[in-house]
Amino acid sequence: MLNSLRSISDFVHEIPAHGKMRVPVRLVASRKMLPSIFADKAPNQACNVACLPGIVDYSYAMPDIHWGYGFPIGGVAAFDCETGVVSPGGVGYDINCGVRLLGTSLEKPDVLKKMELLVNTLYHRIPTGVGSTGPVKLDSAEMKKVLTTGARWAVENGFGEESELDKIEERGEMAGADPQGISDHAYKRGRSQLGTLGSGNHFVEVGFVKEIYDAKTAACYGLHLDQVTLIIHTGSRGFGHQVCEDSIRIMLRASEKYGIELPDRQLCCAPVQSNEGQHYLSAMAAAVNFSFCNRQIIAHWARKALEKTFSASLRLNTLYEVAHNIAKLEEHRVGGKIRQLCVHRKGATRAFPPHHPDIPADYRLAGQPVLIPGDMGRCSYVLAGTEKAMQETFGSTCHGAGRVMSRSQAIKTGKGRNVQKELQARGVLVRASGRETLAEEMPEAYKNVSDVVDAVVGAGLSRRIAKLVPLGVIKG
């Protein structure tokens, strides 16, 4: 397939439509990234997505693309709301997995001597690990409020400030959620998981601003050199996983009912306007809200941990929060006409340009902040959305580093090594509940996030604003 690739520019390449593909695949990557991208099945998966009904323009693959299940991770696909489909596989099991970035009033030298204490305090305050449960246990009436009001439920119940809601995608509360359509299994899995980090690649990271690339935008976002920052990366936990599982079962039947040919059953889908499509969107919105609420509670506990370690008077401001596993109904200009589209971003981030009404008023002139976490040992980036992303990728960009090594490969590579000590030698204190998690998540298991960011910046989909370097991480 690499042989049929046609380069549109240094950073955009096209796999022409072939077989049952309705549109071509557009891959955003530097030339040096191409061999590793074509080493796994992700490009084939992007081609499979291109076969689905109602897909508009292209099936997009971002530079952090890697082999997922059904849709690739790092994919963007928009479907016409009248003629196209919605697919739970285009969002993934971890619905509204996302990232929140907070800026503190602390400077790097303030925290270095207390990093061990801070990391331990965060670790004890925030439940982590497989099947982690938290102290927030809700009855079904209260849970329904969480599912419809998201982060606002958390704020109204003492977890954080009203002003934080302005700095969350969808203001932390996605409309259209229907708690009635949620299964008992999902309620059971979600019941005691609010305010928990989970395992795998989820983390809370303390870092600092190492580099500023655009002083004006960084100032607008409230970032300055050496400022201590906090990143939260997690999602909708077992609740979202179950919502996806339930929806896939419905969509398998729906695909047959509507005569949709599937290159892979995990791509099962239904017309956006069908009962099944609408049911999925309302169940997904409930899981999106569960996740917004989850991160809001974790942010509150992180604030308490910082106050306990340093001073009750320190400030910890939410800079922004993005979702990177989501489907949204959005208006986009296609061929000169405004169209209603169902945009699937699976391992991809919304990156809206300056002046877009969905961006917080404070950032309206700068463009939407885009948060790109890297691996534990290297760095993360703050980017800004651009007009070009709006024109070319439905206002979307990459979401992170993207794996290059399978988990078993990483564990094999890590055998006999102490990843925790290696990271400590690089100035990063890590606490994880599982030793295997550390090996699976070692820096070499991921692409270099700087290469990923160079590609989306090179393609004009985002602007580079700041680089953050980790000092301490807690993981599941």
């Binding site: 796994d40 992700a42 890697h66 082999w67 997922g68 299940y69 059904g70 991770i73 993934g92 099991y93 971890d94 690990g129 497989v130 099947g131 299994h185 059971k188 899995r189 989970g198 395992s199 795998g200 077992g238 996983h241 179950q242 996806c244 599982e245 896939i248 079962r249 398998l252 039947r253 892979d264 059953r265 995990q266 099962c268 794996r403 290059v404 090594m405 399978s406 988990r407 078993s408 490969q409 509940s433 599982g434 295997e436 599941g476």
Partner: protein
């Protein structure tokens, strides 16, 4: 004759299983699921008896539903399957009787959180000498 191989997948974990009959295939898949989730440090201390019935539209969906339901029991009630005493497949209906332990951090080491059992590249099919299946877990 049962063989279980882990499939290398960039983000997730897959299994390829072969067995001489369908019941053994489904049993082996369940045993390996729990090996992925955790290992017991000692001989299991407590055993509870459970029964479970699941159905699917076809054998592939049945395999996904069987493993998903077992994962659900672990996720919500910390139930870990120890031994499957009986497993009967009748068309696309499955009935199982198994003994189980409850997760206890003193006796079990957790490895992997299985978010879901996926349909990606899934198959359950007869071979010349028995049955084979492939299933990929989202982790």
């Amino acid at each position: 004759m049962i063989s279980v191989t882990r499939v290398n997948h960039t983000a997730d974990i897959g299994l390829q299983i072969t067995a001489s009959n369908l019941e053994e295939l489904f049993k082996a898949a369940a045993v390996e699921l729990f090996r992925l989730i955790c290992t017991a440090d000692d001989a299991l201390m407590e055993k509870e008896e459970h029964t479970l019935s699941v159905e699917g539209n076809d054998l592939e969906e049945l395999l996904v539903n069987w493993l998903s339901e077992l994962n659900f029991l672990f996720q919500t009630e910390q139930i870990l399957v120890a031994e499957i005493a009986a497993l009967v497949i009748n068309g696309t209906l499955l009935h199982a009787k198994f003994s189980a332990d409850r997760f206890n951090p003193q006796r079990h080491t957790i490895h992997t959180d299985i978010k879901a059992v996926t349909y990606h590249e899934l198959y359950v099919r007869p071979t010349q000498i028995g049955w084979e299946a492939q299933v990929i877990f989202d982790v």
